[in-house]
């Protein structure tokens, strides 16, 4: 499937985008506004200056990491819908390193990232074990564990770790040495972007160049065949969940060290679920995920510009955003389903 022509890969999403824009244009026109300024704000304004473009980069990082976290599990046939919970715990763990410990950045930053990744992995390990050894559906357990994680972190910052004198449920700020470097002047774009991009490449190498990657893909394609071929499906499922949790934990950690600088309860606008869409849009291919995340990030950045620059209400902009994502993803989803059908047919035949 990766041999399919580039044109064949690119044209359907572009057509979807055009169809989505046409439909949303009709909606805006029906509401009595001109669609052009909204298009401009949504799709072009993010590129109008370094400042606006850097916001796209800021928003891209969590979407990219979440897409990777979802994808690595997907490829193994595991549905980690618990990225949201794992990223909250990872974020809190990293924030804890940042506010409880002192030291130079060269120690603090790796420590915070590693601790965040570790906590995310441990939290993903739990549903992984349940799936591998008791057959409990990871879809149910991961979703349920999201609530546990989100509410646990909220408890931690309203209770034992609340910043003194704070009116909000936030942790203390992390040490300034733990901030990730920002690489563009007067913007929030931080080096977490490069970490995320290299993880995308890393995941590609892992999936296609290593034994573990082969085992992951085989287990995802056909677990019985994999087992027959000598692959331990249980072990492979566990590895996939661990990797997914590592990526989710890193997502949280990088958001804290790069953007938030403290743990804020409820800081994620659903990154863990956005990752599902991002991963599907990218056909679950690690190297395509940065592009899918970028498209999402442009829309997100564009939506907040549209809210400021145009008179169209926020809800309408949200609707447009959703239509575009729906159209583009529906195309991705369709090819995903088609591919699964081919696999399923292969199994039957």
């Amino acid at each position: 499937m990766r041999q399919r022509g580039l044109v064949a890969e690119v044209i359907p999403p572009v057509l979807s985008l055009v169809a989505a824009l046409a439909l949303s244009g009709l909606i805006i026109a029906a509401l009595g506004s001109s669609p052009l300024p909204v298009y401009k704000a949504l799709l072009l304004s993010p590129f109008e200056s370094l400042a606006t473009f850097s916001e796209v980069l800021v928003r891209m990082v969590p979407l990219l990491l979440s897409g990777l976290a979802v994808a690595v599990a997907f490829r193994c046939g595991v549905f980690n819908l618990g990225v949201e919970g794992q990223l909250y715990l990872g974020a809190f763990a990293a924030a804890w390193v940042g506010f409880a410990l002192v030291g130079p950045g060269i120690v603090l930053i790796p420590a915070a990232l590693l601790f965040g990744a570790l906590v995310g992995a441990v939290y993903a390990f739990l549903p992984g074990v349940l799936r591998a050894y008791s057959g409990a559906s990871e879809i149910v357990t991961t979703i349920m564990l999201n609530y546990v994680a989100i509410n646990l972190t909220t408890y931690l910052v309203t209770g034992p770790f609340r910043a003194p004198n704070a009116a909000t449920a936030d942790s203390e700020p992390i040490a300034a040495t733990a901030h990730l470097a920002r690489f563009l002047p007067e913007s929030r774009a931080h080096v977490g972007l490069f970490i995320a991009l290299s993880l995308a490449v890393g995941l590609y190498i892992l999936l296609y160049q290593t034994t573990i990657g082969y085992e992951l893909r085989m287990t995802g394609a056909n677990p019985r065949f994999a087992e027959y071929g000598g692959i331990s499906v249980r072990r492979t499922v566990l590895i996939a969940m661990l990797l997914s949790g590592v990526l989710a934990g890193l997502l949280g950690a990088i958001e804290v060290l790069g953007v938030q600088y403290r743990f804020r309860s409820g800081f994620s606008p659903g990154y863990g679920f956005d990752g599902i869409t991002v991963a599907l849009l990218a056909r679950v291919e690690p190297l395509a995920i940065p592009f899918a995340a970028f498209l999402f990030a442009v829309l997100r950045a564009g939506a907040s510009i549209a809210a400021v620059d145009t008179e169209v209400s926020r809800e309408v902009v949200d609707v447009l955003q959703a239509i575009i994502i729906l159209f583009v993803t529906a195309e991705g989803l369709w090819s995903f389903v088609r591919r699964r059908h081919v696999v399923a047919a292969g199994q039957r035949g």
């Binding site: 400042a51 606006t52 916001e55 800021v58 928003r59 549905f79 819908l81 879809i139 509410n151 909220t154 408890y155 309203t158 004198n165 704070a166 009116a167 909000t168 449920a169 929030r188 056909n222 958001e255 953007v259 938030q260 804020r264 309860s265 409820g266 800081f267 994620s268 606008p269 659903g270 679920f273 956005d274 599902i276 869409t277 599907l280 997100r300 950045a301 939506a303 907040s304 510009i305 809210a307 400021v308 620059d309 209400s313 926020r314 809800e315 949200d318 609707v319 955003q321 959703a322 994502i325 729906l326 993803t329 989803l333 995903f336 389903v337 699964r340 696999v343 399923a344 199994q347």
Partner: protein, 382 residues
């Protein structure tokens, strides 16, 4: 393969994700209990009748005079969404009034619920051609601290929170004073001969979460109830933590029902959107309730005896008007309490009709006692 059910689930998840991006999954928005930031510079006492300026630092904002006759251009950034029938709609009413009465050009931008998008959105608004930018809620001080210094010739008004910036005028509300009045009303009602009182010397309060700003309401309420009758017992409960605590009427109803069955005659809700559950419980249990922020008396006439109002609209309009006449001073905090109609009880036709005269008198006396500093209301901020 079990791929078919999986795919169905994935599609369901996609739908979830699509909704999530619209804001449903995101807490952190406009909680109607509308907390304020802890401010070491604002004392919860009132002095003169004009808005009180605390914090004696010198205002170094843009030149305040000379441009009074020009048309003001105002922008308000809503970190959340309008339509809460409470805090934000009240603020919106204030800026709209500036439009009709002062001819100011007004623009309201809804920032939605993605916390990380607020800073760039506010920055963009600050770059646009507005004279004053209004920002509200305790969630914004960090962002204002980051944005305001980069726009030294713009003026910001931060309401319901405070920062120490030379081009920001802060508005703070003495909700503890308003809640004191609510407490006086509650205490008096519990001792009154209204048909649905329990007979116990007990009143209740349901707060959103156990944080300083909510406790500012709770502390004032308790003090007020015990001001009427030192033996008055005040039951306290909190809905939960974080933003969801202000959007969980079922839990609030449960808590209020428990308080009613423990003998509370009346329960004060300080829980934003959750508070409607308290009113529901009062209706079902045949007891009484007190609303918060906006006038909720009409939600259940005769059950909601009054509401503790936080007049965001008045305060916002006042400061815009000050700017129009050139008297707004930035780098200050304007305190809105009972004296300048910043907080108070909703005394409408339902209040007139259903509250015993004796209690109305007690409330009026309490107002005077606060104004004359005979009573000093405690604060939830430490």
């Amino acid at each position: 393969m079990k791929s078919k059910p999986m795919i169905v689930l994935v599609i369901l998840c996609l739908l979830l994700a699509a909704c999530g991006s619209g804001g449903a999954a995101t807490p952190g928005g406009a909680t109607t209990a509308a907390p304020i930031a802890a401010s070491p510079t604002v004392e919860a006492t009132m002095a003169a009748s004009a808005p009180v300026i605390t914090d004696g630092t010198v205002g170094a904002g843009a030149s305040p005079t000379g441009e009074a006759v020009e048309k003001l251009r105002i922008a308000m950034f809503v970190n959340g969404a309008l339509g809460d029938k409470s805090f934000w709609d009240s603020a919106n009413a204030g800026v709209r009034r500036a439009n009709t009465e002062l001819g100011a050009e007004v623009r309201v931008v809804e920032g939605g619920f993605d916390v990380s998008s607020w800073e760039p959105a506010l920055r963009r608004l600050a770059q646009a051609d507005y004279d004053i930018i209004l920002v509200g809620t305790f969630q914004m001080p960090d962002i204002v601290n980051s944005v305001a210094p980069d726009f030294p010739d713009k003026k910001f008004i931060l309401f319901d929170a405070t920062v120490d910036q030379s081009n920001v005028a802060n508005i703070s509300y003495a909700q503890n004073e308003g809640s004191f009045l609510a407490g006086v009303l509650a205490g008096c009602v519990a001792n009154s001969d209204l048909p649905n009182v329990s007979g116990d010397k007990t009143v209740g309060v349901v707060g959103g979460e156990d944080v300083a700003v909510i406790n500012d309401f709770v502390v004032g309420y308790e003090q007020g109830a015990q001001y009427v009758d030192p033996e008055m017992q005040v039951l306290k409960a909190y809905v939960g933590t974080g933003a969801p605590a202000y959007n969980d009427p079922a839990k609030a109803k449960e808590l209020a029902t428990a308080q009613f069955s423990d003998g509370a005659s009346i329960v004060f809700q300080v829980a934003g959107g959750s508070g409607l559950g308290v009113i529901d419980a009062a209706k079902e249990q045949n007891r009484y309730a007190i609303g918060v922020d906006s006038n909720q008396n009409g939600e259940a006439p005769g059950v909601v005896l009054s509401s503790m109002l936080k007049r965001v609209d008045n305060s916002v309009f006042d400061l815009i008007q000050m700017e129009a006449t050139g008297s707004l001073r930035t780098g200050k905090t304007y305190l809105y309490g009972i004296q300048n109609d910043g907080v108070g009880l909703a005394e409408d036709k339902y209040y007139d009709q259903h509250v015993p005269q004796e209690c109305k008198d007690q409330v009026d006396r309490a107002k005077q006692d606060i104004a004359s500093k005979k009573v000093r209301v405690k604060s939830g901020f430490k």
